[in-house]
């Protein structure tokens, strides 16, 4: 049975394009042009994944409300914000509401599809037993690359797909410097340096919420980032 993806997007042309693209990948797509329609449908049946625009018609923050509603209905439903707004404030708000990823509209179709696939894979693997081969242990850090989960000193940390890919790229080979371009490639993004920096900051913050002494993600000025070997 094909996965169902809900697409909430008010721009007609864009909606049609993504419906075509997702359909071609074998997903079944439910498209909605406003919040009311989407909410009505979601209360009847949840999709397997939701892609939501933030500004929906008249409602400036319709997407946020929709996200909160979905999160209330299901804890594990992958949600991707897909919006024209690229400021930090909106990104942070979106991720706080429990979205799994926050993408701007200029991301290429393949990159979007890669994320969708990754989220689906994670959800699937979460239900299968753990296999040691997929796990990378790096000091106190324990990364399960398949399930896209990680633990720091035993405590799980939730990262978005983009963040996970970035951290994975950095932590896989401790001590190796990863340039921003490499991080961009690893995480299937085309963004500016500032966006990378704010992603790294967010990742650090998430670690520091658990361990205030955390300082393993090291900035190598002029080059990029690396995972600091623990003594």
């Amino acid at each position: 049975m094909s996965k169902t993806i809900a697409l909430v997007e008010d721009d007609f042309a864009l909606r049609e394009n993504y419906i075509s693209a997702l359909s071609k990948q074998g997903y079944s797509v439910q498209a909605f042009s406003n919040r009311a329609l989407a909410e009505a449908a979601f209360t009847k049946q949840l999709p397997d994944l939701a892609i939501i625009d933030i500004g929906l018609g008249d409602e400036l923050e319709g997407g946020f409300h929709l996200c909160q509603m979905l999160r209330a209905l299901s804890k594990h439903l992958p949600i991707i914000f897909f919006t024209a707004r690229d400021n930090d404030f909106d990104t942070i708000s979106g991720l706080r509401m429990g979205a799994d990823d926050y993408l701007t509209k200029d991301i290429s179709l393949p990159h979007l599809l890669a994320r969708i696939a990754a989220l689906f894979r994670r959800n699937e693997l979460l239900q299968t037993p753990l296999q040691a081969s997929d796990v990378i242990q790096q000091g106190d850090l324990c990364i399960d690359s398949k399930r896209m989960t990680l633990r720091w000193k035993g405590t799980p940390i939730e990262l978005t797909v983009t963040e996970f890919w970035m951290l994975y790229a950095i932590a896989k080979f401790a001590g190796h410097v990863k340039s921003r371009q490499q991080l961009m490639d690893e995480s299937n993004m085309v963004v500016d340096d500032t966006t990378i920096t704010s992603h790294i900051k967010r990742i650090r913050k998430k670690f520091q919420q658990i361990d205030s002494q955390f300082d393993c993600i090291e900035t190598v000025y002029g080059m990029g980032y690396r995972w600091k070997m623990q003594a």
Binding site: A13, L14, Y18, D58, E59, A84, K105, P110
Partner: protein, 719 residues
Amino acid sequence: MAIIRIGLRAQLLFSASFLLAIPYLAYQYVWELESYLRLGQEQTMVGTARAVATALHERPQLFNSQSAFLSDVRPGKDLYAHKIDSAIRLDGNLQDWQPYDALMIDYSTDNLLNPSSTYQPQSLSFRHMVGQFGEYLYAVFDVTDNSVVYRNQNSLHVDRNDFLQIALLLPDGVFQRFIISPFESQWVNAYLLSDANKAVSLQRKIQGQWAQTEKGYNIELRLPLDYLAGQIAFAISDVDEDSNGQVKYSVGTADPTKSDDLGTVLLPSPQIEQIIKGLEYSNSRVWVVDKHKRVLARSGDIQKVSGFSDQTDKKNEGLWQQFEADWLLPLYYQILTKPPTQFVDDLKDAFALKGRDLDQALRGESSTLWRLSSDNKAVILSASHPIFMEGSVMGAVVVEQTTNGIRTLRNKALEQLFHFILAMVIVGSLSLLMISSRISSRIRTLRNDTEHAIDIHGKITQHLSPSKTQDEIGDLSRTFVNVLTRLAQYNDYLENMAARLSHELRTPVAIVNSSLDLLALDPKADDAGVYIDRARDGIRRLSAILTKMSEATRLEQTIQRCDVETFDLVALLNGCVQGYQIAHADRVFTLKASVARFDIQGSPELFAQMLDKITNNAVEFGVNGSEVFINLVTDSSKVRLFISNKGELLPANMRAELMDSMVSLRSDKQQSTSSGGHIEPHLGLGLYLSKMIADFHHASIDIENQSDLSGVVVSLSFN
């Protein structure tokens, strides 16, 4: 190139320092005043001298003494009877004469009656003076004689010993000689002497004391004034032990044997003194001198007279007076000189005066002279006036005064002046300093605030708070605030412009992007044409946005190149309203015009463009189904066009800025509510462009809330 930086404070103080010229002028003025006062004093004193002289003119009896008529005065021979202040005891003791010691005259070689080459002063010489006290003339002789020979008790000769001869011209014109020839140190009387040097009779009117001393002897004598007619001669003859009774030397004031060559004695004239006695209270010292400058009379004391009575020394023991006395006056008197209360008076016992003024007076002209006392403490002004008698100068009146009065007066004036100068300088400098400090600190604050308001990249970081002071600096501050606020709004607009643009651009880019991606995935798909159309649609939207962006610039160019024509505004409004009604079916458009035709100069196309913008706003900010009311009103002087709608109000604080800068009040919501799939991007240029077009039509445009706060009205007034 190093330019010296001179602060506002220094500049102000420098220019204000010219004000110090004022106290300087005042100081000069006081000095000037003093010189006028001196001139006045001179005149007053000449007047006094003239008045005194007037009382003495043509009164020969006052000048009846012989000496007054002498052509010249021989010192030592013509004697001056000094006024003696206290009675003289005739005891041979010269203690009484001590105060007048300086007035004694030495008689020795030059006064030998029979010049001799063997003369020795220690053999015979004496010091002598005459004085007047009461009704008597006193004479004193301090004789040096190495060998005193007294008259033999049994001798009839009076001239075989040391003796004193006195020759007098009596008031009745008789010439008489007297001799004092004692037996020992004793009370003596004079004997009238006959032509053959024999003692004729005892004359008790001339009496005195002969007292032997270590170096010789003293003689004190007195004779009544009424016994004198003004001519007199004294001579002392010395007889030594070895001279065998013969007179060895005779020393005298004049030769007593020659009746026609006696000396004179000048007595201060009691009559004149009486006349000028009244002047003792005239604040000056008055002298009357004869033509030989010898003092005939005087009155007054120069130490006491100051010229002007000083009545300003009231004793107020207030705090101010204390401060003045303790601090200010000592400071002032570093510069000022206090008139001395005591000074050396050269003329205290003078019997003869001198000076240019007196010389001139004796030549017949009154004159004045300023001189310093010998200790340089006081300035004394003397005025002289001649006394005439039968056309010739008989003497002169000299009036003297110190300038102490004037100086006290001047000092008082200067004290007051210095008070004012000090107060002025202190208060003036302090207030100037305060004002300039305040100004420069305010300017500095403004400068710092302005500097901090914009960071090094030119970004406005903080807002200034406008000054409330109603002056130029306050204006400057407010202007800065204004400028910065507008700049901030414009910057804000530009910054938001980028965000808005990226927001506006991202959707069409995503459309093009995804369409191309889909095409790339399956170029031969059946719906490839649809993707191409979508991509084109996205690109069309992109170019529309770009067009909007340059609208303002293009409008400016259009306006510059636009040909002005005359068109009927009412007709134009009618046409537009019909069009709007079709375009916005959910609104009601009403046009009301008070005239049937109104021609204006301009471009109908541009005007319509402006109306489009305004109406578009009215539609977008209004509520569905509401009315957009267009009203053309004409009155006597003005034509006004109102476009009003019901709906959202303007924010209270931004009415003025709306027209001035590129401000967009549209929220994101309104950005995206534009109808259909064709999104019209809003860049906040609508009203700005409208203003440009309105200016071109010589109209002023304004936007405000309706008075009942039900909506917004845009008004255009044509001049």
